[in-house]
């Protein structure tokens, strides 16, 4: 009659009590993002695979978002949190425009993102954010965040599933870690690489991560934000992007202050 046996009303020995089966509100949807700042431009990129465990949920899910004419945000982690976080950021930007009749600046958006993230300190957004764009002084900038709002401005940052694969590579190539200048040569300065170099670093980062990490692949979206007046010759034109890559200019979102945003897309391996 095991079927009708009553369970004990209390458990004196907690180790024999049923393990509580609590709902876990989080998941990890894989993928990777990165951003690198140049002198007068910024590059923000992510792959497009969304996965859960060994399942590829979709080969195209957006992780990089154009917020204003000079700011782009990349999110990584739990995609539902990421999408809803971006939605809240965009909502706040809209209210800012209603109130001030101008778009919010990069460093203000960075501070606002900290506030929004920390506001959920005790039920965090499981999202790693990287913000890139053009600062008020016209310089390219990258801000990186942890899920509860710690943030700093950097020359480059990788996050997500393949962070541990990509960040050391960027440390070496962008911050010149473990490199020695030639005797008598000028010391290295981070954050001054030309666009063509940075694009190569981004592409190599993602193709390598695709090879070595199962959660990275399918496609790549690279946003390039350029300060006003800057030449586009090093992005648009024959022979600059490699085979299979495609570039388009995203029109101004606002009243167009002269900054320009380009989207470079490229397929990645799908296996």
């Amino acid at each position: 009659m095991a079927l009708y046996a009553q369970p004990p009303t209390s458990y004196s020995d907690p180790t024999t009590a049923p393990i509580e089966h609590r709902f876990n509100p989080y998941s990890d949807n894989g993928g990777s993002i990165l951003a690198i700042a140049g002198k007068d431009f910024s590059v923000i990129a992510g792959d497009t695979r969304q996965s859960e465990g060994y399942n590829i949920q979709t080969r195209y899910a957006r992780k990089v978002w154009q917020l204003t004419d000079k700011v782009v945000l990349a999110t990584n982690g739990f995609s539902a949190d990421g999408n809803n976080f971006v939605k809240r950021v965009k909502q706040r930007l809209e209210w800012y425009e209603h109130a001030h009749h101008k778009p919010m600046g990069l460093k203000s958006i960075a501070r606002m993102i900290q506030t929004l993230l920390y506001g959920k300190r005790f039920f965090p957004y499981y999202v790693y954010n990287i913000l890139g764009g053009i600062e008020e002084d016209g310089s390219g900038a990258v801000y990186s965040f942890d899920p509860v709002g710690s943030y700093e401005r950097e020359a480059c940052r990788a996050a997500g599933a393949a962070q541990s694969l990509i960040q050391p590579f960027l440390d070496n190539q962008v911050y010149f870690k473990n490199q020695q200048p030639e005797p008598g040569a000028a010391p290295f300065v981070a954050g001054n690489l030309p666009l063509s170099t940075i694009l190569s670093l981004v592409v190599d980062s993602f193709t390598s991560a695709t090879e070595r990490h199962i959660e990275v692949g399918d496609g790549m979206e690279i946003y390039v934000v350029m300060n006003k007046g800057r030449t586009t010759d090093d992005l648009i034109g024959p022979g600059i992007l490699s085979e299979g890559m495609h570039v388009e200019e995203l029109g101004a979102l606002g009243e167009g202050g002269g900054e320009r945003t380009f989207l470079v897309t490229s397929p990645l391996k799908r296996d």
Binding site: L3, T16, I19, F23, N24, P25
Partner: protein
């Protein structure tokens, strides 16, 4: 914790009864500490539906689900419909907890009636498939954020009248959303999705820009996948319906069965009682 159907309804190792897992254990109820006073949320699904499949074809989208609602391993309700139309051009296919599904139907039907009434006054068209999908995504994410999930995985299929294109997307109890030309929930994500993708890409190419499957090809593909699922998913039944959503509207087929082949079982040795 995994939300995968394989994890549903598995009795705890410490259970003192129901050793054969004939019905799901309501485990939290036996927690004297939290069963007192505190609001009880759905901590696990009880009566459940298994996989839902969806695929885009050249004139729209089709969604399939079988007619079974299980109570643990018991095939409890064998004639329930898990495809639910919302208006003229949107349809849900629902897996997971069937009482949450019925609640969802009630809420969405009420919302659509209200929209219908409003459109009588301003002639504005009702919610599009993507509008309904966005609402569902908010609902599911909102409930998960209150630690009170709607325990379902849902495929939304539809036809967007303005964009003149089909719509197919997924939502689950975490509020996770995504869209793809072929989709499957639960076991279907393991067993059917590879078949769906293979057939889709064979015609449309990996970029999806080639010709899509025809309705006939799509239905054949769905039939094959439902058969595979019936063979290998113990919580499935060989009785299912396929919904077709096109510009003209929605049609939901009568229940049908896939022809199956079991004669190979005669030759199997090594399982159960055998004389030789």
């Amino acid at each position: 914790m995994s939300h995968h159907p394989a994890m549903w309804k598995q009795p705890s190792a410490h259970s003192s009864f129901n050793d054969y897992a004939t019905f799901p254990l309501a485990q939290t109820q036996r927690h004297s500490a939290i069963s007192h006073g505190a609001t009880q949320h759905t901590q696990q699904p009880l009566v459940t539906g298994t996989s839902v499949l969806g695929i885009k074809f050249d004139k729209g989208v089709m969604i399939a689900a079988d007619n079974l609602a299980s109570y643990g391993s018991l095939a409890r309700f064998r004639d329930i419909q898990r495809l639910h139309p919302l208006g003229k051009h949107t349809l849900l296919g629902v897996a997971g907890d069937m009482s949450d599904y019925q609640w969802l139907k009630k809420e969405l039907d009420a919302l659509l009636r209200q929209e219908e009434a409003l459109s009588l006054t301003d002639s504005h068209p009702s919610l599009s498939p993507s509008n309904i999908y966005d609402l569902l995504a908010n609902l599911f994410y909102g409930r998960r954020s209150k630690m009170n999930p709607v325990w379902n995985a849902v495929l939304v299929g539809g036809w967007d009248k303005n964009k003149k294109e089909s719509f197919l997307a997924f939502i689950d109890l975490l509020g996770t959303t995504y869209t793809a030309p072929t989709l499957a929930t639960g076991f279907g994500a393991h067993l059917a999705q590879p078949l769906l993708r293979e057939a889709f890409e064979a015609k449309a190419g990996v970029d999806g820009k080639g010709p899509l499957l025809t309705q006939e090809e799509g239905e054949k593909l769905i039939d094959d996948c439902m058969k595979v699922l019936f063979y290998r998913d113990a919580r499935s039944i060989n009785k299912y319906q396929v919904a077709i959503i096109t510009e003209e509207g929605i049609t939901i087929s009568d229940s049908k069965s896939a022809p199956t082949e079991w004669s190979f079982a005669e030759g199997l040795r090594g399982y159960g009682a055998q004389t030789q």
